[in-house]
Structure formats: structure tokens, C-alpha cells
Amino acid sequence: MTHGPAATIAVCAVALATLLAGSLGLRRARTAGDFYVASRSVSPPWNAAAIGGEYLSAASYLGVAGLVLAFGFDALWYPVCYTAGYLVLLAVVAAPLRRSGAYTLPDFAQIRLGSTAVRGASSVLVALIGWLYLVPQLQGASLTLHTQTGAPRWAGGLVVVGVVLVAVTVSGMRSITFAQALQFWLKFAALLVPALVLVGVWHHRDDAIDDGYPTAAERVTVTLDRAVTVRLPVAEELDVRGSVDGAPVAGAADLGAGEHRLAAGTRITLERGDVVPVRTSLPAQPNGSWLRPLGSGTDHPLYASLSLVLAICLGTMGLPHVLVRFYTNPDGRDARRTTLAVLGLLSMFYLVPTVFGVLGRHYVPDLLIAGNTDATVLTLPERMVGGGAGVALGALVTAGAFAAFLSTASGLTVSVAGVLSQEMVRPRERRPHEDLRARRIRAFRLAAVVGLAFALAAATFCPLLVLGIWWPRLSPPGALAGLLAGGALATTAVLVTMTSEVSGWPGALLAQPAAWGVPITFVVMVIGSLVTPRRVPPDAGRVMIRLHAPEALAADLRDLTRG
């Protein structure tokens, strides 16, 4: 099912274009200001497209469609909140943050609180969030190259790391701005064109999703590259070659309803209309409840939905690679306009992955067997269209996917490297190390891991920014206590969720830590500040003026001192 050459050419073209944009920017990147913040001279439309390019990661490009395929309606909260996060950012932090003049979150902490301890804690958190965000990008790159070209699983991550390192080290932020703005439009076009074709095909075939369990739309063979446990919702006779529940099978096998263990290397052939077995980590729901709100079959879905909404809406402002973009705006007013433009671009983009997810439920439900639903966007065009057109569309979505990995990974690299180098750690030593661990980590759904990064950002940086900008009485000890409490609680929840299976309420609470983590951090910061009123920095009032006064006021003052 792979179409090696076309997809390989597409990946190479995207990598080359990124490097080319990087080398064009090389001539223009002269100062440290150019490298880190593009000398603060990027106009709102370019900046907005660049933010969109950086923000739309593998989790958005591949992950959202996969989540919709597996979880249905409840997964729609992801794209909605990825977008709504920018609205919160616009209302709460955009202009003051730009006016603070800081480049990174630790810079902000230092400017506002004058404390090296808070700065240090922020740096550690930036690296942690950056890592949680970067791992899924590399994992997505591996998946894409593996699915589309048959390359070994480690290759994709390596390509991304290589291209990003070269592009970032030679040219820095200005060329990255240019490259990422282009990558936004590439990603959008690479999803929109296939989506329009696929909707046309769907309409032409007059297919419909019924209320029953997902069934194969055509004869398809799935080879498992690792052992999985699947749940078959109803008894079904399937053609299996390999091992089921420890016994060798070659041919038609009567599988009862319930769980079955399939060994690595097992081949399952589904005929049209066969009910699809579903990996046990995903819900095996009939389409009828898949279509309904809270029908995804997870524990405590209403709590999960609401906590997810909170995590993403409040976490967006705490993402290091997104914030760094705001400092490239000329002033606070432009920072707001840029944010609004991002809101528009994202609203446009996120209409499309949902289409892939819904069509995927009908045409590629076999992805549920191995649980690799993140491949929905990649496999759907070729499966639905076929022939040369299918290959071309497949190559197009692959190119878009690589643009997604490259832009997000390079944005993360610039911002995390900025923080690390400012903290006197040599970033080069860290990179290869991260790769190794990225490959060992358990396979997770992309958007879910990124969701944890959002939860961590929401439980730490959101309170720091909100209180720092709007509450003059925030004190360094209070802020530090809040960062430590929120960081420790959210990290623990993330680690437990990633390494073990907890069910019921404890599981739901740990998987979605934002709903309790964010309020706890706010409370700790406020109480900590109220009991240490003498530690409030003496220049807090001056910093508040700097954050909120329009730039025109500073111009007035300059005129006064001159005249």
C-alpha cells in the first residue's frame, strides 16, 4: 500500500524548500536580534501565518483526524479549543506580553518579579513542555515516513532533526518566520485539496455512515508489526494468518465477541462488510454512539471534555514556541491584530481534519485494529481515490505532514534553545539524547500527548502570566510556590498516565489534570503572595505601567523631555 517514490520526492521537496528559505534568510540575519526575534519587525499577516505554521503540529495535521475517527464527536473539542486558546490569549496576555519586551517566559518572570529562582523554575518547565511537544513530532515523522515510503521507523525523526538543526543554526528566526508562513499555507493546501476531492468522491458514491459497528468498506489486509489485543464487538468470521490468543491460525477463523490477542506479524484480511476488531486502547463503539456527544466510551466523558477545554484554552498562552512569536511584533497593538489573524487562520484550517476523520470512519476503519489512527490523513486519499490521482494526493498530504513536523520542531528548537543558551547550557549536547528517548517511548496518540503538554502549560505558566500581568501584588515566593506545586502535580499526573493504566475517577482525573491543577496553582500563588507582601518587587508598579500603557504614551513622554 505504500507509494514510495512520489512520497519520497514530496518529503525531499519540503526539506529542500525549508533549507532554501533558511539560506535566503542567512544573508539577512546579521544581529542576535535577527536570530531570536527577527528584529521585531514582522507584519501581522506574515506573523500570523508563521504562528499558524508553527502551531499546527503533527497533532493537528494528523492527530485530530485520527481522534475523530476513533472517538467521534468528543474529539471535536480538540480543534475547537486549539482555536479558542488564541481568543483567551488575545484577551488576557497578547498586548501586555509584547510590551513587556521579554523574549522568553523566563525573561518575563525576571522582568516582572526580578527573581532568578522563578526564572530558573520557568526555564526547567519550558524545557519540559518543549520536550513533551517535540516527542510526538518526531514520532509522527517516523510514522509518516514508515507508512508512506516504507523507510525504517527511526528515519523520519532523524530527517526532521537534521533539517531543523541545519535550518535553525544557519539562519535563526527571520528565515524561520518566512519558512513557517509558507509552511502554514502548504499545510492548509495539502489538506484542503485532498479533502475537497474526497468529499466529492463520497458524495458521488452516495455512501453513508450507519448506526452499526464500523465495517470494512472494501477488501483490505492488515499486517500487525507488533502484538496487540483487540476487542471484537460481535462474533465474526475473519481470514487470519498468524496467531490468535496464542494458537496458530491460517485461514478463516471464527472469532467470538470479546478480546483477542494477536501476535506480531499476524495478517488479517477483512472482506467488505466485516465488523472491524478494535484495539483495546480505543473504544469499540457503534457509529450511533460515536456520532453522539459523550459517546466515546471513555470514563467520565463530561469531566474529560470540560477539563480538556480548560487545559487547551489556558495552556495555549503557556506554550514556549508560540509565545516567542509575539515578541516579533512591532508593538502591543500589532500583537493583538496578529492574534486575531491567527484565530481566523486556525478557524479555517480546523474545518478540514474533521472531514478526514469522518470519512476515515467509513473508508479506513481497519486502522482501528492496530490503533494507528494517526495515519488516517495519510492513508485515506489513496484508499478512496486510487490510481495516479490517489498517489498524487497521498504525496501531497505527506508533504504537508512533513511541513508540520519541520515547522513545529524548528519553532520549538529556536525557543527552547533560546532559553537553554541563555541559561548557559549548550543545547547541542541535548539533542541526540532526546532522540534516543523519543524512540523508546510507548506509542501514544499524537494529540493526546500534546494535550498533556497543554495541561502542564496551563497548570504552570497560565497562572504566572495572568497574575503577573493583572495583579500587582504577585510576589516571587508566591509565584515560585505556584510553579512548583502546579508543575509537580501536572508532571506526576502526566507520568502516571503515560506509564500505567488507571481506571475510574482517579484515571479520569490523572488523564485530564487541568481542571484541578490550574485552580490549585492559582490559589497557591495568591496565598503565597499574600503572606509575603514585603517580597513584592519595589518596581512592580513601574512594570505594570510598561505592560499596560499604550506605546503612544511613551512617545508623549519622549516629546516632553525633548521640548
Binding site: 464527536f73 473539542w77 475547537v80 453522539r292 456527544p293 499596560h548 516632553l560
Partner: protein
């Protein structure tokens, strides 16, 4: 013979000139963080903070409201628009224009607050 004292001209003070305080631009009051400057600044911060809270409240009502209606209203769940389930149309498409409109309003109001602040500061 002593010289007569030099003549001194005595005039009625110009009332306007006496009453007018030395000209202190508000921008300088703010810059020097006087009490008056603090009043100016806190009025701006208060209006911007109120705007931020209103927008966040609106987002909360919009999103949490959709989630709760989806959880508790059977009519909402079973309704269809153009043959598509209403909840999908709302959350997949309809909510985005609302978010953009809210963002646009927020941006305009924030800029208006800043203009009002500058007018106030420059009027003195």
C-alpha cells in the same frame, strides 16, 4: 537729603495666571508614579481587566454551554441540519465564526480603551 525711594509699580494680579497650577502633563505624573499617575494607570488596567474577564466568561459560556447541552439535551443531540447531526454542525463549523467575532470585538474594545486613556491623559 535722602533720595526718595524708587517708584514701585503695584498692579492687581491677573487672577487667571495665579489660579493656574504649574503645567504638569499627565504622562509625567504616570512616569513619576505619583498618586495621580497611579489613578490614571489603574483606571486603564481596570477597564482592560474587565474586558479580559468578560471575554473569558463569554468563551466559558460558549464552550461549557455547548458541552452541557450536548450532555443533557436529547433534542439538541438528535436534531439535524442539512442532513448532518446538529452537534457536529455546531462544534465542527458553527462555533468558529462566533470565536472570530468575539475576538474581533475584544480587539476593538481593547483599542478603544487605550484610545480613551490617551485622550484622558492628553486633555490636561
Amino acid at each position: 537729603m535722602s533720595q526718595p525711594p524708587p517708584r514701585v509699580r503695584i498692579t492687581h494680579p491677573r487672577t487667571e495666571a495665579v489660579r493656574r497650577a504649574p503645567h504638569r502633563p499627565a504622562a509625567r505624573e504616570i512616569d513619576e508614579q505619583t498618586q495621580l499617575g497611579d489613578v490614571y494607570m489603574s483606571s486603564l488596567i481596570r477597564s482592560q481587566r474587565r474586558l479580559a474577564l468578560v471575554t473569558c466568561a463569554a468563551v466559558t459560556i460558549l464552550l461549557a454551554g455547548t458541552a452541557l447541552i450536548g450532555a443533557y439535551s436529547a433534542n439538541f443531540v438528535s436534531a439535524r441540519v442539512f442532513g448532518l447531526p446538529l452537534p457536529w454542525v455546531v462544534l465542527g463549523v458553527g462555533i468558529y465564526p462566533l470565536l472570530i467575532a468575539l475576538g474581533w470585538w475584544t480587539m476593538r474594545t481593547a483599542e478603544r480603551n487605550e484610545r480613551a486613556f490617551l485622550d484622558l491623559v492628553r486633555r490636561r
